[in-house]
């Protein structure tokens, strides 16, 4: 088991490097910070000097090497646009995304799994049919469409029909209302609700369908009949035998899904102006702000790779047939 972990970690590093290199190259091919800097009304000589100062006239590989060595030393450089160190805003963005991701995940995993299990156990009941219908609907809806609809609902709709001057839930930007100072849990939570809900719509649909399929497979397995033939309670049969087996693919899927959180909430964050990693990326991308973008990429890929590893580990841990590798 230990060797398995070591071997996977060993492979993770090249993936990290290769992935970031590909993105590095792609960045350089698709954007030009010099062009973006033209907004700031500078002369051509200044631009050339600018390019030289930033090391952008050196060959790509050299630039990448410089970046990589600095990164692993913990030096993330300064932003082209703000001239400020990259790490603090990046860290804030990361924390914000993780908070939103975790908060939403807690909700949609629990709800999705529960709905899926009940749907499978009571297959074809009204609950199952309703859940299936809603899942299909949730999966068919572009996530930002749902987000827009909720904004209207809690905004103008609420204001006109409930005669209020402020929306039911905040939805414009930030993690706090403009009036809040310092750390305020309630305010923070209020700002999380709508983005988390929007994120959850698709996820609950996915998880419940996935869980339903997984449970149905296990519910029809031979060992279920054996379990019942032993005379144990039906509840134990469902949870200890069926669910425990359905957990295997679920855990793997879940780990990979969560690993995507670090870079994957772009749309939700954009709808609500939530200052997370996705928002950060779009902003930096429009400005071709390489120093901001490159560490961002490393972190995102690292997350994905780490959680993929976790997925494999959980698979091995939950399924005793896979122990030896």
């Amino acid at each position: 088991m230990f060797r398995f972990i070591v071997r996977r970690v060993f492979w993770a590093l090249p993936v990290l490097i290769a992935g970031s290199f590909v993105l590095f190259v792609a960045l350089h091919l698709t954007t030009d910070p010099v062009k973006a800097a033209i907004h700031h009304n500078v002369s051509t000589e200044a631009l050339i000097k600018f390019k030289h100062d930033l090391g952008l006239d050196k060959p790509l590989l050299e630039q990448y090497w410089v970046f990589l060595t600095h990164f692993f030393r913990g030096d993330f450089g300064t932003s082209y646009t703000s001239q400020a160190p990259v790490w603090p805003p990046l860290r804030t963005a990361l924390v914000n995304s993780l908070v939103l991701g975790a908060f939403a995940a807690l909700f949609y995993i629990v709800v999705g799994v529960a709905v899926g299990v009940i749907s499978a156990v009571k297959q074809y009941s009204w609950f199952d049919n309703a859940a299936t219908g809603l899942s299909f609907f949730g999966l068919a809806m572009p996530p930002f469409f749902f987000g827009l609809v909720t904004i209207v609902l809690v905004g103008t709709f609420y204001e006109t029909h409930f005669h209020s001057s402020t929306p039911l839930l905040p939805f414009i930007g930030g993690i706090y209302s403009p009036t809040t100072t310092g750390f305020n849990l309630v305010d923070r939570m209020k700002h999380l609700i709508l983005p988390a809900l929007t994120l959850s719509v698709q996820e609950v649909a996915v998880y419940s369908r996935y869980m339903r399929t997984g449970m149905l497979e296990t519910l029809n397995a031979d060992y279920m009949r054996t379990a019942r033939a032993k005379g144990i309670s039906e509840r134990r049969v469902i949870w200890h035998h069926a669910f425990r087996n359905a957990l295997i693919p679920l855990a793997t899927f879940s780990a990979i899904d969560i690993g995507a959180v670090a870079g994957g909430l772009i749309i939700t964050e954009q709808i609500f102006g939530y200052p997370g990693m996705g928002f950060y990326f779009l902003d930096a991308f429009h400005n071709a702000d390489y120093p901001s973008l490159l560490p961002w990429m490393m972190i995102v890929i690292a997350f994905v790779v780490a959680f993929n590893l976790l997925a494999d580990l959980s698979y091995a841990w939950l399924d005793p047939r896979i122990r030896v590798d």
């Binding site: 397995a221 031979d222 060992y223 009949r225 054996t226 379990a227 019942r228 033939a229 032993k230 005379g231 144990i232 309670s233 039906e234 134990r236 200890h240 035998h241 425990r244 087996n245 295997i248 939950l318 399924d319 005793p320 047939r321």
Partner: protein, 352 residues
């Protein structure tokens, strides 16, 4: 062996006696059992009127081809059929009616009074739980007085009983770490853990090698002799029947063809289907002789044949056979019934 404590939450109609059944007492009595499955293509009539009796300490062998309804019958008794199945009739365990009971009531019977072992031990055991845990689970489902440690001790005893070497090590292993024969032994251990009155074995050796088959049969026989448990042995293999059974019930297309002692079944059969099964055994054909299979193939249970279901394949069939189902009746031998209009004619041929 210790007996079960009287269960306080028992249903009024018939209390499960706490003492072991006496020899000859009827432990399982099935009358007019019908099982129909609802499928996309229409109703499938898997079992069409079965009567069956098992006495304490006796080994009843149920023989039939796939689709004869032999497994379905027993699954129906334990309430282990899917929701698409409709079950009518009566199945009594020591006087207590089992059909139509709530699952909670059946849980008390399953594993403790009537136990069942299944065909493929690899898929029948849960792959993610240790074998020991699966056995202790069976024990503790019916023995609330035992804790996990005590149950594990008992589990090790049971594994030893069924002939698994180094049981204290094996008890902590997973099913995939066992060989096929050992897995079946483990399943047997799991199901006899609570000393059931009836043990149903549904083709327990079909998925195993021939040599292992013999071992498992020996094991079952020794358990049966020692504990005097009634055994219902379901199989399609007449050779197995000859080794283990006291009585034989031959089933065809969801109905009983013949029911007799094992000796009568093999030497004095009174049903053409049984005769056909016996004739098709390779050992009965001398060297150089052709095998004699039964012509045709088993019928689809979506559209069972009218009257006697065997008539399309029967050498003795006449017009009356496709009309009404022949009743199960005794011809000459005691405790030997057969469902054939021409049993007497057959008897003359067979006894000759």
């Amino acid at each position: 062996m210790t007996s079960d404590p009287v269960n306080v939450d028992m249903v009024p109609d018939g209390a499960t006696p706490d003492a072991r059944p006496v020899a000859g007492e009827s432990v399982l009595e099935i009358r007019d059992l019908h099982v129909t499955f609802k499928t996309e293509d229409g109703p499938v009539f898997a079992v069409r009127g079965i009567d069956l009796d098992v006495a304490a300490g006796e080994v009843l062998g149920i023989v039939g081809e796939s689709g004869s309804g032999k497994s379905v019958t027993m699954l129906a008794v334990l309430g282990l059929l899917p929701k698409t199945a409709t079950v009518t009739g009566s199945a009594k365990f020591r006087g207590e009616e089992l059909l139509g009971r709530k699952p909670k009531d059946l849980q008390r019977i399953r594993g403790a009074h009537i136990a069942m072992i299944f065909q493929d031990p690899l898929t029948a055991l849960n792959p993610v739980h240790k074998v020991g845990k699966q056995i202790t689970e069976a024990i503790r489902a019916h023995r609330s007085d035992m804790n996990e440690n005590e149950a594990e001790v008992r589990a090790i005893e049971l594994l030893d009983l069924v002939g698994i070497p180094r049981p204290e090590v094996r008890v902590r292993q997973y099913p995939h770490e066992f060989s096929g024969g050992m897995r079946q032994r483990a399943m047997i251990a799991m199901m006899i853990a609570n000393d059931p009155d009836v043990l149903i074995a549904d083709e327990p050796t079909t998925a195993l090698d021939v040599t292992i088959q013999a071992q498992i049969l020996e094991l079952l026989k020794s358990i049966q002799e020692r504990t005097n448990t009634a055994v219902v042995f379901i199989t399609h293999d007449l050779g197995v029947i000859a080794r283990v059974a006291d009585r034989v019930q031959v089933m065809y297309a969801g109905r009983v063809a013949e029911n007799a002692s094992v000796d009568d079944t093999f030497h004095r059969s009174r049903h053409p289907y049984t005769g056909g099964l016996l004739a098709s055994l390779p050992s009965l054909a001398g060297p150089g002789q052709r095998l004699k299979p039964i012509v045709g193939s088993p019928p689809s249970m979506l559209f069972p044949p009218s009257g006697c279901a065997f008539h399309p394949r029967c050498p003795l069939a006449e017009e009356i056979c496709s009309g009404e189902q022949p009743p199960l009746r005794q011809i000459d031998r005691p405790k030997h019934v057969t469902a054939c209009y021409f049993a007497e004619k057959l008897a003359k041929e067979v006894d000759a």
